[in-house]
Amino acid sequence: MTDWSGYIGLILQGALVTVELTVMGSALAVVMAFLAGLGRVSRFMAVRALATTYIEFFRGTSIFVQLFWVYFVLPFAGVTLSPLQAGVLALGLNVGAYGAEVVRGAVKAIGREQREACIALNLTRGQAMRYVILPQALPLMLPTFCNNAIELLKGTAVVSLISLTDMTFQAQVVRAQTGSTLIPFATILVLYFLMALAISYAMRWLERRMTRGLDGVRT
């Protein structure tokens, strides 16, 4: 009989790394999503082109390829990253590109009359975005952001392939040491699922908070 408590501990350590990656990756992704998403609706051609290139590039290749590229090719360009940094960078940039389209879509979805009202009130473009457009666009973005966050969580499994000791990596270690396959893999499947549930509950809570007081304002 194998002593499972030690192995479960190992997997939980990995779970911590997975959570860490998800949180940091999401933070980077949100920043990139807003930068690129607002960049795409910019009035400057160059900014729009830059944002479009970023989005198409990162949406066009898979997270796996990007991760390997960041981890194995960037060192030759003189940028050496730890596996964790490479993971956060690749995940954040990848999911950020998907998020950018969400931001753009939500900003575009705000009615024309809102923009016209801003012009009539003599708000600058920055003010209009900050006080009028974004507060209304944010609740529209949240459900899709929730899906993106879950995608990011699922993407973190890939970092085990660049030797980062996340949950999937630890499950492989347990498999190698005990020869048992069902228990480690079933455990991490359940853990991943619980994390995904936690994300979707957190997002729903956030959505309720953000739409509070907006009832009847939006049509």
């Binding site: 290749t61 796996f64 090719v73 030759f76 890939v158 991943y192």
Partner: protein
């Protein structure tokens, strides 16, 4: 390290070999996904309540867990209970199952979009359940879904590198083995990225065309 074109031409045949497997896996995976998705969708909509509930849970579970872990599960756990699958088969089943759950959602939306009157008319003309599905509901439900399904097809294509983790010799794995044996990472990894970028740019154009074609069909 410098970019070396000679090396690029030298490894190109190996990479193309891998690309073939990648495309094969995507094609087979999408067939499996299309079928499994339909089964899931119909089970969720017509099966007795406990079965429908269980199906919903399974779909949610598969959607909430990483494809990589599911592939490991299929490849490493199933042999313990006597099901030994070749790597490519395991990969295709994994891809198909994972994207099948996404396809199920698309099917469900599509089927729910068929007006109630169609169901009632089918009943009024005394069609059996099977006939209703095959001759009335699905032919109307499927065309509007095609762009969304194609979208997931592209997503699946981009996920195929994960199969390298269960030893399928697809594009990424070929690139990795070339890189490991020659200690040159720049060219193989970049080429894999370029291959995927080109394929997905082409497929975006194709997707736009599909969207245009099938949205026009709606308006008729």
């Amino acid at each position: 390290m410098e970019w070396d074109w000679n090396f690029v031409w030298q490894i190109m045949p190996t990479l193309l070999e891998g690309l073939k497997i990648t495309i094969l896996a995507t094609a087979l995976g999408s067939v499996v996904a299309a079928v499994i998705g339909l089964v899931f969708a119909i089970l969720r909509m017509t099966a007795p309540k406990p079965v429908a509930r269980a199906t919903s849970f399974i779909v949610e579970f598969i959607r909430g867990t990483p494809l990589l872990v599911q592939l490991y599960f299929i490849f490493y756990v199933l042999p313990d209970i006597g099901i030994r699958l070749p790597a490519l088969t395991a990969g295709v089943i994994g891809l198909g199952l994972h994207y099948g759950t996404y396809a199920a959602e698309v099917y469900r939306a599509g089927i729910e979009n068929v007006p109630r009157g169609q169901w009632e008319a089918a009943k009024a003309t005394n069609l059996t359940g099977r006939q209703t599905w095959i001759h009335v509901i699905l032919p109307q439900a499927i065309p509007p879904m095609i762009p969304a399904l194609a979208n997931y097809l592209i997503a699946m294509f981009k996920e195929t590198p994960l199969l390298s983790a269960i030893t399928v010799l697809e594009l990424m794995n070929q690139a990795k083995s070339v890189a490991n044996s020659s200690y040159r990472y720049i060219e193989p990894m970049t080429l894999v990225g370029v291959f995927f970028l080109i394929m997905s740019l082409i497929s975006v154009v194709f997707l736009r065309w599909l969207e245009e074609r099938y949205s026009r069909l709606e308006e008729r």
